[in-house]
């Protein structure tokens, strides 16, 4: 993007030969303003002018040592080179500055100029990115410069493979049988063993294309991810000229949400884009359209508060199926019909431990995908087999420790060459890859040490002992003291070192600087700790759990002391991370979950993801119920009533968000006995509401409300809002006064809550019953007769409704004043609806609302012709007030044509609604709108809202 001035510069250059200094700078990636020499000879005055131009059209950045670096502005460079055009001429510009910086970018620029650039296929990633920048300058000017897309494709594929190569590294050994299992399952590569090959052949004879997922499970550290990466790599190389398309998804990545598997599909499409150059654009477009849809749905969350529940959004099924169809047909056109797609899902335990419903959700998605991609081959790595009771279809295979030759070979790959030593290591620590890896670290740190551990012990104990041995080799004594009991904390940062760990660990941390220093040193102990997403440190989870158990046994007092100090440290903090830690430590020292519960705030869930094997059983149940984490059924049987309800509520909420209210109801029905303030009543009401069973919805609301009252608690505003939704839907108001009272009560309890405004609007709409509406010119004579017949009872209600409406408008105005302006700004549609209701009753407040929300082009489109009258009236009134003709039309920059009506009629006649909406907003901001005009505008907005509803368009 260029500014007008830039464009004037470049156009000016296009007409003339570029000035000598610009020509020189155009072929230098960076230059020294005191050293640069011009191209060619000119008069002193011309050179002076040219130099001035160079300085004006350059940018200055700083290198790593904070030295300024000069370069020609990118757009100017491009235009100079376009003007020079000829390769030889451009090359000759280089000769003006034989002493130039020759950084890698400069070298690549010159290689392309000389026609000697290495082929794209041979460039490393750094050279590729050099080329990308050279393309900006020379692309389309001289021949032989590749296309940006070509380079991007290469870089993307390189990046995909690099991740897998990193996982496999140089030490992958053994696993022949498991690799064969995957080969057989995918059906592209020949299994290494003859028996496997035969089995594959027979299987292919009897099985169709579709195959359920293959789950490889085994404990943490056994090498599942490495096996999967190895398998992908061997499938990704060309086999008979065709590599198998693949996608690798690690569920540890926060952007992959299993509860919304379209996030997975977007990533799959993105990875396939790098593998199918000729269909790259299409795959990227599919990925983008999925992400756009996800973004659109996520943006629809109305509350812009840090506590908004972001987990509740989900794309609707019609759109989902369309996106799946689009993906399926794209893949078959790119790879050819019937080609397999290897989809690898890692860290599946994240999902297994979190929710059965999420697992089922993923399975549903995989099934739906397989319908579109029959040869979908999904290989999943997790820690446990699937729950057989859930009836999910999968092939399952357990991954165990290395066999003996593989373990030997693994140690050998780390340079422990002596056979007897290797055998001794294996005898002592076993064949678990993690144990062996830890043993290698110990051997490296203690080359002279003879014994790793005294005897063959339980695997966990082995790892624990080895871990302690590794800890011993931390050079800094204070860091060593910190590291071991430090793992009681789930996260460590400088503040925690200073205020929580220092004293119990027996080290002096006098100030923040020392704490920072220790933090930095601890961070460099990569075999002990790793980085967390928030920049703090954490211990390797499986080792932390192990060591924690040992610590509780060996040093219970010190362990509890650290936990209590951590609680003290976190307790006055309000952010979800701190609160989650406080809750965790309270539960860890055995506090009753009921006393911990008041500390719960929205947002802590994501920092309290299980499993929590180190916590007491009741703490685990409590956390599971609050975070939608799955425990085994035995554990749930021990759960108290509230925990069971919370668990059911979360599951049911999820079904509601997925648009299956029936399943939400089946979950809530499992809980027979209810606490007085059970959250299930509200969920049932919402489910019935969604199913259109308003009577049952009303009953559920009533029961829930009674429950809360009995428990001495205020009825949650969501229930009140739902109740008003029902009122609005049914439009059967028995006692308007009671509704106003109820609203007033809610306003007292939930002062400032934006949901009150929605509730108020609902109640107002519910007053809009047929009986309360006066007959209009549009009312047919038959309807009129019917209304007349009913007049007597209706009249009473209408009067009552009218009084209630006035009262409610006063209350609503007060609520608007109490609502934070940013909440209203975040929901312009709400503001417009409020404006329509209170426009006549409270012009000042109404004007403020409509100024904040703007008119919105959609609403304007429904009343475009009606605006002539409004604008004419406004203009007439203003002109009379200011004694100046055409105040409004002048402000709008319109040429007057006859009367005001004529001017506005002409204007509105050929304008789009968005332009008119813009104009109205502008006029409202700049000119006073008399109360009667404002009242007319609010009526117009009301009409627009009504018309929109009638046309069935839902915003």
């Amino acid at each position: 993007m260029r500014s007008p001035r830039d464009d004037r510069d470049t156009e000016h250059m296009a007409r003339q030969k570029p000035s000598p200094f610009l020509m020189a700078a155009a072929v230098l990636t960076i230059f020294d303003p005191e050293e640069i020499r011009p191209v060619g000879q000119l008069s002193e005055a011309q050179l002076k002018e040219s130099f001035q131009e160079l300085i004006a059209k350059s940018v200055v950045n700083y290198d790593r040592d904070a030295n300024p670096i000069w370069s020609l502005r990118g757009d100017v460079r491009r235009h100079v080179l376009e003007r020079l055009k000829d390769r030889k001429v451009i090359m000759s510009c280089l000769r003006a500055n034989p002493r130039r910086y020759r950084n890698s970018l400069q070298k690549m620029l010159e290689r392309y100029l000389a026609g000697q650039a290495p082929p794209v296929s041979e460039q490393n990633s750094y050279q590729l990115s050099d080329t990308l920048q050279v393309i900006d300058w020379l692309g389309g000017i001289i021949p032989g410069v590749p296309k940006t897309e070509e380079i991007q494709q290469r870089m993307e594929r390189e990046a995909l493979i690099a991740t897998l190569r990193y996982l496999v590294d140089d030490h992958f050994r053994g696993r022949t049988e498991k690799l064969d299992t995957i080969r057989r399952y995918v059906g592209v590569l020949k299994p290494a063993s003859l028996a496997s090959g035969l089995a594959k052949h027979l299987r292919n004879l009897f099985k169709g294309d579709m195959r359920p997922p293959l789950l490889i499970y085994g404990p943490g550290g056994i090498g599942k991810s490495t096996l999967l990466a190895k398998s992908i790599l061997e499938h990704s190389v060309d086999v008979q000229g065709e590599p198998t398309p693949f996608a690798y998804l690690d569920l540890d990545r926060p952007s992959l949400l299993a509860r919304e598997p379209l996030t997975l599909l977007a990533e799959v499409a993105k990875q396939l884009a790098a593998q199918f150059p000729s269909n790259r654009t299409n795959f990227l477009a599919t990925s983008n359209s999925i992400l756009k849809e996800l973004t659109r749905v996520a943006r629809a969350i109305p509350q812009m508060t840090p506590t908004a529940d972001l987990n509740q959004w989900r794309v609707n099924d019609i759109v989902r199926n369309n996106l799946l169809d689009e993906f399926g047909s794209l893949l078959s056109s790119a790879a050819g019909m019937g080609k397999p797609l290897l989809l690898v899902i890692d860290t599946f335990e994240r999902l297994q431990f979190r929710s059965h419903d999420h697992v089922e959700n993923l399975w549903d998605f995989l099934k739906a995908l397989q319908v579109r991609v029959p040869k979908l081959r999904t290989v999943i790595a997790g820690r446990a087999p699937l729950d057989p009771q859930r009836g999910l279809d999968a092939e399952q295979d357990r991954l165990d420790e290395f066999d003996f030759p593989a373990a030997l070979s693994y140690l050998k790959s780390y340079g422990i060459g002596e056979q007897t030593k290797m055998v001794r290591v294996i005898e002592q620590v076993g064949r678990n890859p993690l144990s062996l890896r830890l043993a290698v670290e110990v051997i490296k740190a203690e080359p002279e040490g003879s014994e790793l551990i005294p005897a063959r012990l339980n695997e966990n104990l082995v790892q624990g002992i080895l871990y302690r041995r590794i800890l011993r080799h931390i050079k800094d004594e204070d860091v060593r003291k910190l590291a071991h009991p430090g793992l009681i904390l789930r996260r460590i940062d400088a503040g925690l070192i200073q205020h929580v760990l220092a004293a119990p660990c027996g080290i002096d941390v006098l100030d923040e600087e020392r704490a920072q220093e220790l933090f930095r040193k601890l961070r460099s102990e990569v075999s002990v700790v790793g980085p967390s997403a928030d920049g703090s440190l954490s211990h390797r989870p499986e080792l932390r759990l192990l060591m924690l158990k040992l610590l509780w046994t060996d040093e219970p007092a010190r362990t509890e002391d650290i936990q209590r100090r951590a609680i003290e440290f976190y307790k006055d903090r309000e952010d979800p991370v701190s609160r989650a830690e406080e809750i965790y430590h309270r539960l860890a020292i055995g506090e009753d979950p009921k006393t911990v519960s008041p500390r719960w705030i929205p947002g802590v869930e994501q920092y309290l993801v299980g499993p929590w094997d180190e916590l007491p059983a009741r703490a685990q149940i409590y956390l599971a119920s609050r975070t939608n984490f799955e425990l085994d059924e035995k554990a749930w049987k021990r759960a108290d009533l509230e925990s069971g309800e919370r668990r059911a509520a979360r599951r049911a909420e999820d079904f509601l968000a997925r648009g299956v209210p029936e399943r939400a109801l089946s979950v809530t029905r499992e809980i027979k006995k209810r606490s007085p303030a059970s959250p299930l009543g509200e969920i049932e009401a919402r489910a019935f509401f969604a199913l259109g069973d308003f009577e049952k919805a009303r009953r559920s609301i009533r029961d829930a409300s009674i429950g809360y009252s009995r428990d001495g608690k205020a009825i949650p505003i969501d229930i009140l809002l739902l109740d008003s939704d029902l009122d609005q839907k049914i439009r059967l108001v028995e006692s308007p006064e009671a509704k106003v009272r109820s609203f007033r009560e809610a306003a007292r309890h939930y002062k400032g809550d934006v949901r009150l405004l929605k509730m108020g609007l609902n109640v107002l709409a519910s007053f809009d019953t047929e009986a309360s509406r006066p007959p209009t010119a549009e009312t047919s004579s038959r309807e009129l007769t019917r209304l007349k017949l009913k007049l007597s009872p209706a009249e009473t209600l209408a009067r009552s409704l009218d009084g209630a409406r006035q009262e409610l408008l006063i209350e609503l105005a007060e609520c608007i004043r109490n609502t934070k302006p940013e909440s209203l700004e975040a929901d312009p549609e709400l503001s417009r609806c409020l404006f329509a209701e209170i426009g006549s009753a409270n012009p000042t407040l109404a004007l403020d609302l409509i100024k904040k929300s703007g008119m919105g082009s959609e609403l304007v489109s429904y009343v475009l012709p009606d605006l002539v009258q409004l604008l004419t009236l406004w203009e007439t009134k203003l002109s009379a007030q200011t004694s100046s003709a055409g105040t409004l039309s002048n402000l709008a920059g319109l040429s007057r044509s006859g009367s005001y009506r004529q001017t506005w009629s002409n204007y509105l006649g050929d304008r789009r609604s968005d332009e008119v909406a813009q104009l109205l907003d502008q006029l409202l901001e700049r000119r006073e709108m008399p109360a009667d005009v404002l009242s007319q505008l609010s009526e117009l907005v009301k009409t627009a809202l009504r018309r929109r509803k009638r046309f069935g368009i839902v915003s």
Binding site: M1, R2, S3, P4, R5, D7, T29, P33, E34, F51, Q52, L54, I55, V59, V60, N61, Y62, D63, R64, A66, P68, W70, S71, L72, R73, G74, L105, S129, L132, Q133, D136, T148, A159, P254, T263, S287, L291, L294, T295, A298, R299, M304, P306, L310, A533, G535, E822, T887, N890, L891, A892, G893, L894, S895, R911, R912, E915, Q918, L919, Q922
Partner: protein
């Protein structure tokens, strides 16, 4: 006069080249301006820091032109002379802009370097919201090429120079030669503009891993809190494919951490929505620029006339007609906005050619 970051960097470079020694610089200041360099920066600091502090002091005293002139009189450098000429031109334009200054700076029609800023009401509104104490922290502006996304920087810069206690840190990769800006360099450039001093080692870390990028972002955000100044970061051109992944990772952390600092505002120009962490979406403002409409043009011209004291006259509609007729055939084409802006400049120059300076 207020300097852009690029102008500041050019002065910095020229002064460092002309006075590579603290004592030489101190002598020049004493003889030519009667300033004592010790008052601004001690001799123990690096030359880069000394010069930066000197420029800040000159800006605070509104003596930047005098500083550059004094330096040029002492060391006859072509570079200093060229910069002096450029600054003189900028100063004249800044003066001319004041003729158009509206009550609310977000309503400005003519902004830095005398560039017209045609309507963009939504953008102005967003800017105004972000300028509020508890306003949104992140705005992403998108739209097809040629609509003036990068041009938005000029209004932002205009507004911030007129807003108390605000600083602008802007990086536009569209105009730099090297697009491979790593997170350390990005923070270095922003720090210079915000006048933060990164601790030794923070920017030069060898391992450019996710951890480091987080640490950098965290440091920057913490500094904005400690500075008690509203720090606006504007990033443009970061969709170039050569921009390293680590830098995108850094920006992601910056967005995620922005909720922690009431002082930080981030504006992303032409930044892909896909790169924005989904959990941030509800807290951000998104704006998609569309082509300037005839109504917008008419209002703009009417506003310019009003700001120049010509409100109520018949000239504005005529000028708007003339401009619109010149460009309406280009509607929907990439060059439309550019041509429209040129036509506006031309007509305004014709109308207010003298004092307006357009």
């Amino acid at each position: 006069m207020s300097l852009s970051s690029n102008e500041r960097a050019k002065i910095d470079s020229a002064l460092r080249l002309a006075f590579p020694d603290y004592d030489d610089l101190a002598r020049m200041l004493k003889f030519k301006l009667d300033w004592n360099l010790q008052e601004f920066a001690s001799a123990r600091l690096t030359l880069g820091t000394v010069v930066l502090k000197l420029i800040e002091a000159a800006e605070a005293r509104d003596r930047v032109l005098d500083l550059v002139a004094a330096a040029y009189e002492t060391v006859s450098s072509n570079l200093l002379r060229a910069i002096y000429e450029q600054l003189k031109e900028t100063a004249a334009k800044q003066k001319a802009i004041e003729a158009y200054a509206p009550g609310d700076c977000c309503d400005a029609c003519i902004v830095h370097q005398l560039r017209p800023f045609i309507n963009r009401r939504e953008f102005r509104r967003n800017l105004s919201r972000m300028n509020q104490e508890n306003g949104p922290r992140v705005l992403s502006v998108n739209g097809t090429s040629g609509l003036g996304k990068s041009h938005s920087l000029h209004l932002i810069s205009y507004v911030l120079t007129r807003t108390d206690n605000s600083r602008l840190g802007e990086i536009n990769l569209n105009i730099t030669a090297e697009k491979r800006i790593d997170p350390g360099s990005l923070v270095r450039l922003l720090s210079r503009q915000f006048k933060f001093e990164p601790k030794d080692g923070l920017l030069k870390q060898a391992a450019q891993d996710a951890w480091w990028t987080f640490e950098l972002a965290n440091w920057l955000v913490t500094e904005t809190v400690d500075s008690k100044t509203n720090c606006w970061i504007v990033l443009d051109g970061f969709e170039h494919p050569a921009v390293p992944d680590a830098t995108h990772e850094f920006i992601k952390h910056l967005l995620q951490l922005s909720v922690k600092s009431v002082r930080l505002r981030v504006i992303l120009l032409d930044f892909s929505d896909d790169r924005i962490p989904s959990e941030m979406i509800p807290y951000m403002l998104f704006e998609k620029l569309t082509e300037i409409t005839e109504t917008e043009l008419r209002q703009f011209i009417s506003d310019v006339f009003a700001q120049r004291g010509h409100a109520g006259g018949d000239d504005a509609p005529k000028v708007a007609d003339k401009i619109w007729n010149k460009v309406k055939h280009l509607q929907g084409k990439p060059e439309f906005t550019r041509k429209l802006t040129e036509a506006v400049l031309e007509e305004l120059k014709h109308k207010f050619g003298d004092g307006g300076g357009v």
